[in-house]
Amino acid sequence: MSDARSADGEVRFEKVRKAFGTNVVVRELDLAIRGGEFVSLLGPSGCGKTTTLRMLAGLEFPTSGSISIGGRVVNEVAPGARDVAMVFQSYALYPHMTVAENIAYPLRKRGVPKPEREQRVQRAAESLHLTELLSRKPRQLSGGQQQRVALGRALVRDPRVFLLDEPLSNLDAKLRAHMRAELIELHARIRRTFIYVTHDQLEAMTMSDRIAVMHEGVLQQFGTPAEVYNRPANLFVAGFIGAPTMNLLHGQAAEGAFHHPALGLPFAGGSPPASGQRLVLGLRPEDVVLGTGPFAARIRLVEPHGHEQIVQLDIEGGDTLTIRADAALPLAAGEALRWGLRTARLHLFNAESGGRIDAAFTAPAEAAAA
C-alpha cells in the first residue's frame, strides 16, 4: 500500500460517448477524478451513471472517446487488467464458493501463491470483521455480511480504483447508515480512488469528496457536495439535490427586477438579465423566513417532523412553497401569514436553457410587493 501508487489512481473520461444503437446513454462525458478521491456519480435511474461505471470497469465499451486510469488509456484493456475492483449492487458473490474462496478469487486469478493468498484474505477479513464467517457460503449470510464480503473481495486486491455500484441499496435504512460510516472510514484508511454510483443524494452528500450529477447521459455538474448544494449549475441539479426540494418560481425579468405574481425582487448591480427574459427563481425551504417579511401567503398544510415542521404555503400566482420551519413556531393550516427571504441565498436560472445566472438581489422593500 504505497502512497505513490494511490496518487496514480487518477481516472479520466475524455469525450466519452456510449450509444446502444440510436439510444445514446452517455454523451460527451469529460470527467477527471483525482487519485484517492471519493467521487459519487449521482442521478436518477437511467441517467447513464451505471453505464459510466461499467465502462470504467471494462464491462461496457465506449462508442467513442477515451477512458484512462493512472494516465494509461484502458479502452482496450480487459476488465481484469485495469486494476480496478468493483462492488456490485447485487454483491455478485459466487454462491458456490465460501466467503474465503470468494475473497481469494481475485488473488487466485492473479496467480498469487497460496500462502500469501491466505494471509491477505485473513487480513481483509479481519478489517471487515468477517473472520468467523470465512467458511460459510454466501447464502448463509445476512445482507450486511454479504455486503462486507463483497467489499472484502474488492479490498483484498488493493486496487488503484474501487468501483461501487449502489452497494447499499439492498440494505435496510439502519444498516445503510452504518455501512455509510464504515465506507467513509475505509476510504479514509486506505486512500484509494472510490467511484460510487448512487441515486441517493444523502449517500453522495455524506460520503463524497466530489459529486458528479448526471442526467440523461449528460454530466450536469461536478463539484464538492457544498458546491453542488449551494451553487447548483442548472435547474436539474437545483431540483435534484436537497430534500425537500428547492422551490422553483417561474417569472421574468422586467425593469431590473425578477417578477412573479407573488413577489418582485430587484437585481443588485452587475449585469442583470435583460427585460422580458423568462427566469426561474430557486429558493431552498430553509431560506424562507416565516412570520415577518414583505410577502403574504396562506398556510395550506403543516407536517410536524418533531425537530422541525415542513409547511406548504399557497402564494399568489397559484404556486405553492415548501418551507422548513422551526418546530416551535405556532402554525396551523388555513392561517394567513407574512414571509420573507434570505436574498443572499437565492438561485436564479435561465428558464429556457436551465443554466444558472449569477445575480444578486437587494432586499425587497415591504411596499415593493407586486
Binding site: F20, G21, N23, T50, T51, G58, E60
Partner: protein, 321 residues
C-alpha cells in the same frame, strides 16, 4: 432486468438497434468477445445446418420428385405431388383426423391437467408421492404406454372390458382399437393420459405463486369456492395456459409414435394423421417424393400454430420461451 452490461437484455427497448451498434463495434476487446461468442455457438450452428436446415431444404426439394424408395431412383415431377395431394381424399381425411385428434386430446389434457393440478395443490396425504405417480405417464416411453394400453384394451383378457362388464356398463367386450369411432376415442384417451401431466406441472407451478392475499380478499368479498376459482385462479392461470395450450397443440399435432403404435392409423385410415401418412407413403407405398410433399404440407399447417405461439410471446413483451 436493468440495462445490464454484456448482452443487452433481450427485453431492452433498444434491442433491435443494438445489433447495428454491434456491427460498428471497433473495440478490439469487444470484437474479441464477439468472436469468442461466435466460436462457442459455432458447433451448434454447424450441427443445425447439417442435420436440420439441410434436411429441411431437402424435404422441399424431394417433394418435387417421384422417388421409388427401395432403389431411390427418382424423376423430377414439379408440383405434381402437391396437385395429387390436393385431389386426394386420403390427404384431406388425414388432415381432418389430425385436427380432430389434436383438438380433442388437447382439450382433455387441459381440463384434466388443471383439475389434477388444483387437486394436488391442496394438502393431501403423501402429496409428493401422488405427484410422482401423476407425472410418470409423461416420462414413460410411448412404446411402454402403448403396450400397456393395448393390454388394457385387449378384447378377450383386457381388464378394461372386464371391469366395465362387471360394473354393468358393457354387456359385451368393446372393440377399443379396431372400429370407428372407438379407435379415435381410445387414441385420444391414451393421448390425454400420457400428456396431461405436462399441464399439471405447468399449472401447479403457477398455482403455487398465486398470492394467498388474493384468495383472502375474494373471501372477504363474499366469493365462494367456485367464485374464487373463477375470479382469482383462472385469470392467474391464463398466461400459463395460453403457452401450454400452444406448445401442446404443436406437439400433439406432430405426434407419431402413439397413434402409429396404437392403431397404425386404422381402421383403414380412420385414425391416420399426417405424420402417419408420411411414413406410410415413404415406406409402405415406397413413394418417397409424395411422402415429402405430405411432410411439407404438414409443416405449413404447423407454421400457423408456431406463428401464433411466437406472436403471443411477443405480445407479452417476453422473449419467446
Amino acid at each position: 432486468m436493468s440495462s445490464s452490461s454484456l448482452p443487452a437484455a433481450p427485453s431492452h427497448p433498444s434491442r433491435r438497434a443494438a445489433t447495428a451498434a454491434d456491427r460498428a463495434a471497433v473495440n478490439p476487446l469487444d470484437r474479441g468477445y464477439a468472436l469468442l461468442g461466435v466460436l462457442l455457438i459455432a458447433p451448434t450452428v454447424l450441427i443445425f445446418c447439417a442435420v436440420i436446415i439441410y434436411p429441411l431444404v431437402s424435404a422441399l426439394y424431394l417433394s418435387l420428385f417421384s422417388i421409388f424408395t427401395p432403389t431411390l431412383a427418382g424423376s423430377f415431377v414439379g408440383l405434381r405431388n402437391y396437385a395429387e395431394l390436393a385431389g386426394s381424399p386420403e390427404f384431406w381425411r388425414s388432415l381432418l383426423n389430425n385436427l380432430i385428434w389434436t383438438v380433442l386430446t388437447l382439450t382433455l389434457q387441459v381440463v384434466l391437467g388443471v383439475l389434477a393440478a388444483l387437486m394436488l395443490n391442496q394438502a393431501i396425504l403423501f402429496r409428493s408421492l401422488a405427484r410422482s405417480l401423476i407425472l410418470f405417464p409423461y416420462f414413460v416411453s410411448t412404446v411402454v404406454a402403448v403396450l400397456v394400453w393395448r393390454w388394457l384394451f385387449n378384447d378377450l383378457y383386457g381388464i378394461l372390458n372386464h371391469t366395465m362388464m362387471w360394473a354393468g356398463i358393457l354387456d359385451m367386450p368393446l372393440d377399443w382399437l379396431g372400429a370407428m369411432p372407438n379407435a379415435m376415442v381410445s387414441v385420444v384417451l391414451v393421448g390425454a393420459w400420457k400428456y396431461f401431466p405436462f399441464v399439471v406441472i405447468a399449472v401447479l407451478a403457477r398455482l403455487q405463486t398465486i398470492p394467498e392475499q388474493l384468495y383472502e380478499a375474494a373471501t372477504i368479498d363474499g366469493a365462494g369456492a367456485w367464485g374464487r376459482f373463477w375470479d382469482v385462479t383462472l385469470p392467474q392461470l391464463r398466461d400459463v395456459l395460453v403457452v401450454v395450450i400452444l406448445l401442446r397443440a404443436i406437439w400433439d399435432f406432430k405426434e407419431f409414435d402413439l397413434i402409429y403404435l396404437l392403431t397404425g392409423g386404422g381402421p383403414i385410415i380412420g385414425t391416420q394423421t399426417l405424420p402417419l401418412m408420411v411414413y406410410k407413403e415413404a415406406f409402405g407405398m415406397n413413394e418417397m417424393g409424395r411422402a415429402s410433399a405430405v411432410a411439407v404440407a404438414m409443416m405449413l399447417v404447423m407454421l400457423v400454430f408456431m406463428l401464433v405461439y411466437f406472436r403471443v410471446l411477443k405480445a407479452r413483451g417476453e422473449e419467446p420461451r
